[in-house]
């Protein structure tokens, strides 16, 4: 059944036998069995739905239990989808629930699979998957009800092909990334040292080698860009003084970065533990390298410190006199005596008696935790060294990142963080509570009922606020029609500004095609150049394509991707395609394009301003502004870290949905907003949201697994 309008009127249709029958026979796909998913499954079966399939790739964590009410302590570690299905059948034996412990992006969940359902309901925790499902629903012509929550805020939107906006008609903010040179050389905010500790130092010590080399590539790219900027600025010299200054500045920046990179040039082997080296000696050697000699070398790069104070090196012997070292040694012996005991038993801070996670540690305590955490990895979890990845639910990893980032913060005079707060920032943890997910599940099912009944005029997007604004807790809005220029459901072309001399095919694929465009199995064509991924390729094809990956764009076959080339990108599995016009640019600034490119056009992703994890309520006038402020306070970490990913997502690297609140304001659609007062109020709304937009505050970041 595709979407069909019937003559039925909402909500009188609720009383009809036809709708009751449709509810009983409808086939529903729930994508996600986490915070929203658990509530949704419950609300669906209590409404009378009997044929449900649920997909979720996650397993249950202890921190889920405060809201994913289908799960118990003894379920920790088990599949969310399977457990949820089994528990729901416990209280509703009449329901047929099929569980898939799998990723929705797997090939078997293709367009044909989606066509087997009457309606698709999303309870997802990341933007990539949301966009994937959106494309599948468009291709399969199935209605999609999309949802998200964060803290007290939530929203439900309805996407009907050809009738309402698709999920990607409106741009979605992408997570903030930071220039590597800032992280490496000139951090000035807590998030900088936390990202450095998690993405650079943690990977350097415990992660796979490629995790670090990607970042090294990015650093080199930034250096090249800065040099290019300097040359470009120099080329225009001879004119006014300002451009001379600009050239000098750009040259200085480039020189500083180059010098800094040279000063701290990292031989990866230095960070490996040597044969016969005691684990604590190794930890001490790493400490002295990272917090003493590297900082001293950086201090020597005078260009970096003309406008900011240089960092201060730390000395291990000053921080940790012998008695402290003895305490660490005995803590390590104690931990070893207890045996490995898995991740759960492994915490350096608790072994040192630092039980209060909200208490900030002293410099000496941070140093102790760092040394002990490194030693514990090597003594108790040796097999993970060289392949570990940061996991916010791994206490030892969180200990390490907290201590490593705080020590760096001490060097740079940046406020340090408690373990609790550092964990939140490093893990991109979304605040999550049961009530919001329950409310959102009710709103999703309400929209699903309207769609099933064929009351397509009655569908609404709904936004939930923490406090009533103008007495309203829920703000209801008629969905906009599809956007003609949408890259996904309309006709649009994109322009990619990138250095075709520097960027490689590999970086184009990972940074632009997969990350920004959310394509999962790309097929690229441009003149004589072709590249494919996916199943069904011969081995020699795979090898030939792999050989192209390190090439720069201009050096690709068929004359290369150059200024003015039109690259056709397709994804068969998503039934998605888009043309990208390449615009060569070798003067992209690191701060404008931290990822090394700019994607322009109606891209449902590319908001380049720094996003703050704040939320502004768009409804009402003064009251809304007050609520927005309250909401903003609720969300604002001291440091604008982009809290985007849900807590239950692995790695935190994937972008999550940060869904824009209704910014193109229409009068609130509650049936009474057609008189003068409401027009005025709508204007007020616009003013509020415009003001908010300037502060990058008009983004309701909304996500719970």
């Amino acid at each position: 059944m595709a979407v069909e309008a019937t003559g039925a009127t909402w909500p009188a249709v609720l009383r009809t036998k036809e709708l009751q029958e449709k509810i009983k026979s409808a086939k529903v796909l729930c994508v996600g069995a986490g915070g929203i998913g658990c509530e949704l499954l419950k609300t669906l079966v209590c409404t009378g739905f009997r044929n449900i399939e649920v997909i979720d790739l996650d397993t249950i964590e202890t921190s889920n239990l405060n809201r994913q009410f289908l799960f118990r302590k003894h379920h920790v570690g088990q599949s969310k989808a399977n457990t949820a299905a089994q528990v729901v059948k416990g209280f509703c034996p009449a329901a047929s629930i099929t569980a898939h412990h799998a990723n929705i992006k797997e090939g078997r969940f293709d367009v044909d699979f989606l066509r087997g359902f009457d309606i698709v309901l999303n309870g997802l925790d990341n933007l990539e998957a949301r966009r994937h499902v959106n494309r599948l629903c468009l291709a399969a012509e199935r209605p999609l009800v999309e949802s998200g929550t964060a803290g007290y805020l939530g929203q439900v939107t309805v996407h009907l092909k050809g009738r309402t906006e698709c999920f990607e008609c409106q741009p979605k903010p992408t997570p903030k990334s930071f220039p590597i040179c800032t992280l490496r050389n000139t951090p000035d905010r807590p998030i900088h040292t936390i990202v450095w500790a998690k993405d650079l130092l943690f990977n350097r010590l415990f992660g796979p080698p490629e995790a670090v080399s990607d970042l090294d590539d990015q650093a080199r790219r930034e250096e090249q860009q800065q040099q290019a900027e300097a040359e470009a600025a120099a080329a225009t010299e001879g004119g006014d003084e300002a451009s001379g200054d600009a050239a000098a500045d750009a040259a200085a920046a480039a020189a500083a970065t180059a010098a800094a990179n040279a000063a701290t040039a990292e031989d990866p082997s230095f960070f490996l533990r040597r044969d016969g080296e005691a684990s604590l000696d190794y930890a001490g050697r790493v400490f002295e390298r990272v917090y003493t000699t590297d900082i001293e070398s950086l201090c020597g790069v005078k260009e970096l410190w003309e406008k900011r104070p240089p960092p201060k090196p730390l000395r291990l012997t000053e921080l940790l006199p012998d008695p402290d070292m003895a305490a660490i040694r005995s803590a390590l012996e104690g931990a070893k005596a207890k045996g490995p005991g898995g991740q759960a038993a492994c915490s350096a801070s608790r072994a040192l008696g630092l039980a209060n996670a909200s208490q900030k540690w002293t410099a000496a305590q941070n140093a102790s935790v760092l040394l002990l955490a490194v030693a514990m990895y090597h003594e108790l979890r040796k097999e993970e060294v060289g392949s570990a990845s940061f996991d916010k639910d791994d206490d030892l990893a969180v200990d390490f990142v907290t201590a490593a980032s705080n020590l760096r913060s001490f060097c740079y005079g940046i406020p340090e963080q408690s373990l609790f707060d550092a964990k939140g920032m490093a893990g991109n943890i979304i605040h999550a509570i049961a009530t919001t997910n329950a409310i959102i599940s009710g709103l999703i099912v309400t929209e699903a009922l309207k769609i099933l009944a064929g009351c397509l005029e009655a569908v609404r997007n709904t936004y939930l606020y923490e406090f009533p604004t103008s007495k309203r807790q829920l703000v209801v809005q008629r969905p906009d029609p599809p956007c003609k220029n949408c890259m996904v459901c309309g006709k649009a072309q994109l322009t990619l500004r990138i250095s075709t001399e520097v960027a490689t095919l590999a970086s184009l694929l990972s940074g632009v095609i997969k990350k920004r465009l959310a394509v999962s199995t790309p097929n690229l064509v441009c003149g004589g150049f072709m590249y494919e991924e996916g199943e069904g390729l011969d081995e020699d094809e795979v090898a030939a394509y792999a050989a192209l990956l390190p090439r720069t764009l201009s050096a690709l076959p068929g004359g290369g991707l150059r200024h003015g080339s039109v690259l056709t990108v397709q994804d068969q599995s998503q039934h998605f395609g888009v043309d990208i016009i390449i615009a060569h640019s070798d003067d992209l600034k690191a701060e404008d394009a931290p990822e090394g490119f700019l994607l322009e056009g109606d891209v449902p992703a590319a908001q380049q301003q720094p996003q703050e994890p704040t939320a502004a309520a768009p409804a009402g006038a003064a009251a809304a502004a007050a609520a927005a402020k309250r909401n903003a306070n609720e969300f604002k970490e001291e440091d604008g870290v982009l809290v985007l990913d849900d807590d239950d997502e692995e790695a935190g690297a994937k972008p999550a949905a940060a869904v824009q609140a209704p910014s193109r304001k229409r009068a609130l659609e509650d049936g009474e907003d057609r008189d003068g007062t409401d027009a005025k109020r709508a204007k007020g709304v616009e003013a509020v949201s415009a003001a908010a937009a300037e502060d990058d505050d008009d983004v309701v970041i909304i996500d719970d697994d």
């Binding site: 909500p11 609720l14 209590c46 921190s63 605040h431 509570i433 049961a434 099912v445 807790q473 609720e634």
Partner: protein, 383 residues
């Protein structure tokens, strides 16, 4: 974040991690000290109970001796497989306790009702007809349950009551006011729901990021049902007038309006009330907009639970089945329970922790009103 995280055990800190990031340690500690009594466990109460148990309210006690085999269809806390021989409260308690072993779920014996308070009122009412000779014995008999209820309520900070007839709700409101206990009382009828909140004459609370203590004054249910109609404008949620019409019906007939026969009387009362509002004085179609089509009918008819599907099945003639379906009460619609249960639980948490402004003093939600409008309405003095 107050530096008191170490006052929680590791278990608490691990399970409550995500919500601690929303409301902090101090609120969590207050929740863990709170005692909430829930009277009547239908679909709405199940939602509220689940939400406050997950949040970690220290003690949640359930009162509903209905056999679990007759549990409301929307009560997802009752597992049919293990319901035999248990009361609804017992069956729900088992599920809730498993959901959060870090707090305590208790069961109290007794019906999901506060009717005992009404009987006692009647006994005490001097305007009643001359008591028959056996009145003394009868008064003692009804005083005992009323006294038991009074003593029960006095042991809790907050009472949540769902699905009570409005006169029982009013009596409970007076009892809670007298004892200084917080009350959340409401119900879902089909696609509509109301929740009445009474946190006493002086509820104090703080607001995150703002200095000082704030105060809200609440009114009793009776005073909310007799508020000046001049305060009812075209933006007031229509459910208020319908609720008030049902209240007047109950007062006049000493029984709740239920079934098709009562619809006309309630509609008449609602229309009379609408005509006396500020909206009506403003003229135009404003008063008519206060009573959207079908709202009175649904609110009266859907108060009853739907008959079980098994009972409805033997309908042989399709037309008869059709007619039966049309007259069939919807009971509590699950999506409405989920929405309102979430809103109520948020406000219970605010009320018991004295952090954040709770609802003042009525929440109305209906799919029959303007696309499913959820609104706070205030009928206590000046805003």
């Amino acid at each position: 974040m107050s530096p008191a995280l170490d006052t929680l055990t590791e278990d608490h800190a691990a399970v409550y991690d995500r919500q601690l990031r929303v409301w902090g340690v101090e609120v969590q500690r207050r929740l863990m000290d709170a005692k909430v009594l829930i009277i009547g466990l239908g679909g709405l109460a199940a939602e509220i109970a689940k939400n406050i148990v997950l949040a970690g309210v220290g003690t949640v006690t359930l009162l509903d001796n209905t056999p679990a085999t007759s549990a409301a269809p929307g009560n997802f806390l009752v597992e049919p497989g293990s319901a035999a021989g248990k009361s609804v409260a017992e069956a729900c308690a088992a599920t809730l306790q498993a959901m959060n072993p870090l707090m305590t779920v208790r069961v109290e014996p007794g019906p999901p009702s506060t009717a005992a308070l009404l009987q006692q009122q009647q006994q005490q009412d001097p305007a009643e007809a001359t008591p028959p000779p056996e009145a003394a014995a009868s008064a003692a008999a009804t005083a005992a349950p009323a006294e038991a209820l009074r003593s029960l309520v006095s042991r809790y900070d907050t009472v949540v009551a769902c699905g009570l007839p409005l006169r029982e709700l009013a009596a409970l409101s007076e009892l809670c006011r007298g004892l200084g206990r917080q009350l959340f009382a409401g119900g879902v009828r089909g696609a509509s729901s109301f929740v009445f909140v009474d946190l006493g004459p002086r509820h104090t609370y703080t607001v995150k990021g703002e200095a000082g203590e704030k105060v809200f004054e609440y009114g009793s249910f009776r005073s909310t049902m007799s508020a000046d109609l001049a305060a009812v404008g075209k933006r007031t949620h229509p459910l208020y007038l319908v609720l008030r019409a049902c209240w007047e019906f109950e007062e006049a007939h000493s029984r709740p309006a239920a079934g098709p026969a009562d619809v006309a009387a309630v509609r008449l009362a609602a229309e009379r009330l609408a005509a006396a509002t500020a909206a009506a004085k403003a003229g135009g179609g404003a008063a008519a907009a206060l009573l959207p089509e079908g709202l009175v009918e649904s609110f009266v008819l859907d108060a009853a639970a739907p008959s079980s599907p098994a009972a409805a099945e033997p309908q042989s003639e399709p037309e008869a089945a059709e007619a039966a379906a049309a007259a069939e009460p919807l009971g509590e619609l699950a999506p409405v329970c989920a929405v309102v249960g979430g809103v109520v639980a948020n406000n219970v948490l605010r009320a018991v922790s004295h952090v954040g402004p709770p609802l003042r003093n009525l929440f109305c939600y209906s799919l029959l009103v303007r696309d499913g409008l959820g609104m706070e309405e205030c009928f206590v003095g000046a805003a």
